[in-house]
Symmetry: C2
Subunit: 349 residues, 2 copies
């Protein structure tokens, strides 16, 4: 690591304000504001003088003051579970695209599955006076979000349905997705299946577990017998590695493994390999999300695909509609997932 230092710059004493511009241009305060917001009400000569002054002072309006007075809101907040997960970055893309079209902007934050961090960002965004928030909740308690909504802040749940009718939500049917994944493994003859899952405070973990249980029961199996559940603390590659280590340490490992998401599966496969186990011969693996590199892995990963980008787009639309004039009623939208079979489950022909 090499460092070099330059000269310390002068920090300018104060940002130019609208009255500095007015003085420089020899007009009144209100006129400058008019140039900014209703240029057609100002004569071309005056407008020219004001614009020249703005340029000269490199004036940038103070957003705090504007928002305080006018309540003009064009910012939307999004709090995602894990920004390092390609699934969520793709969702963010969808959101951002839609917001940009509507001339709004996105403030992004990652709760890292930590309810405290989530609460911090919720508060920050509310203080900032955002139009609304798109949230993938890190906890089961939706009360803070309901309160937020009652206080007039638009809230849309992302990748999570709400038991309460008061919140809009956009989600994919995780129960069905997990059931499909497990049915696939069952159809390949597996009768005991490990499940690397995250904490039950996260809705996705609850739903995917439910889907697994449903599939097992539908096949006449007792989940207590057929499902070997391992709970890890974080839904990423590290979690997956830890899960497999725990699974193998317990002995009598099942012949198949279902992971709560693809990052977890990535870590799990890494750990399986380092223990000398072949995929899918020694252990079949199925993930969830179908992230962009799933098909390119050493053993291409069987996974459950979701309409990721669309999820973000629809969520953004919902928020804009709900927060705009007219205040649309809350809507719950649910997409259906799709199983993509590849080599890791041994099911590809």
């Amino acid at each position: 690591m090499v460092t070099t230092a330059g000269r310390a710059p002068q920090r300018s004493p104060r940002r130019a304000s609208i009255s500095d511009v007015a003085q420089e241009a020899g007009v009144s305060l209100g006129t400058v504001s008019n140039v900014l917001n209703r240029p057609d009400r100002v004569s071309p000569t005056t407008r020219g003088k004001v614009l020249a002054a703005i340029e000269h002072l490199s004036f940038v309006p103070n957003g705090s003051a504007r928002q305080l007075r006018a309540g003009t809101i064009t910012t939307v907040g999004a709090i995602l579970l894990d920004i390092a997960n390609p699934f969520f970055t793709e969702v963010a893309r969808g959101i951002e695209d839609r917001l940009a079209q509507a001339d709004h902007t996105l403030m992004l934050a990652s709760s890292d599955e930590d309810p405290e961090r989530e609460a911090r960002y919720l508060r920050l965004f509310e203080e900032h006076g955002v139009l609304g928030m798109l949230v993938t909740p890190a906890s089961t308690d939706l009360e803070p979000l309901l309160e937020l909504s009652r206080r007039g802040v638009g809230v849309v749940l992302l990748d999570r349905t709400s038991p309460a009718e008061e919140l809009s939500s956009v989600a994919v049917d995780d129960v069905a997705g997990a059931a499909m994944a497990v049915e696939h493994l069952l159809s390949l003859g597996h009768r005991r299946i490990a499940f690397i899952n995250g904490p039950q405070s996260i809705a996705q973990c609850v739903d995917r577990r439910a889907g697994m249980v449903r599939a097992l029961e539908a096949a006449g199996l007792d989940p207590d017998e057929a499902m070997v559940e391992i709970t890890v603390s974080s839904l990423n590659a590290e979690g997956g590695e830890a899960g497999v280590t725990e699974l193998l340490a317990a002995g009598t490992a099942p012949s198949a493994l279902f992971c709560v998401n693809d990052l977890t599966a990535l870590g799990a496969m890494r750990a399986l390999r380092s223990h000398g186990l072949a995929i899918p011969a020694d252990m079949a693996v199925v993930g969830y999300d179908d992230v962009n590199f799933a098909s390119m892995l050493m053993t291409p990963l069987t996974s459950v695909r979701q309409p990721t980008r669309q999820l973000g787009e629809v969520a953004a639309d919902l928020l804009l509609k709900a927060a705009g004039p007219g205040m649309a009623a809350p809507q719950r939208i649910q997409f259906q997932p799709e199983l993509v079979v590849r080599a890791s489950s041994g099911g590809a022909h």
Copy 2:
């Protein structure tokens, strides 16, 4: 896609303000403010009454008003080239960690390598009155950033060194990294090497190209002969696929391929495979960034590793130091990269 609608909620007429709280608690405006900011100056009884009123009205202070008056700034903006790239999300993690320690918060944005989007976010952040910004510039023109810095907004260049001495920067030596990658391919006997690169408006693309040229010349080769450069418009998997398609269409493909980053390499490998070419037998591939899944790919990817998280941490530190009291002089910090040899180059033993 299934949708259900609930009841439309009441939007509350107005957020509670500090004077509502004061009235409810039967104290003056200033006292409420004191409870919020200097609780020790208020007697326990009064404090209790005020806190009860705050709770009762579920009062949340208006950040715009606070910032307008007090200039209290605890928000930092970051504009990254591509938020879907694991390299940048890891950098963002580093930034966020450091900021959280200092009780600051991060507003994240992705320019998607588009200078216009970058400009929009620069303006948005400045209007919002951020303490400073961490920017991976999408264009070679640093003038807007220099102006920003002169206006008193902290600016730190991320993954990019500045020719101007006035800006702080944190970067990795891309010229050296690319040279290492190409030297590696040369040492394996390749004499013509394809290079899938991005637009020259992006500094990383310029530097990595320079590193490649340097390595070729050092080996006594003529870059015009030995380097087959293909320029793609976006530095992601789609770009990589397009690049390989173009390369193969031109005929007489080289025996090795250096990609400007790992996502590009991912797409390139996908395209090579779909054209029936074996890696590394028909085409050796080297990427850049060593993203987390590089080692887990069908053919594990040889890549150039950078101290990603540290990059973000150091950048955040620099900004906090530069923007804090004392105004430290601008610093330029440069890390050294490291080549990680795996199977995709055929160089792993």
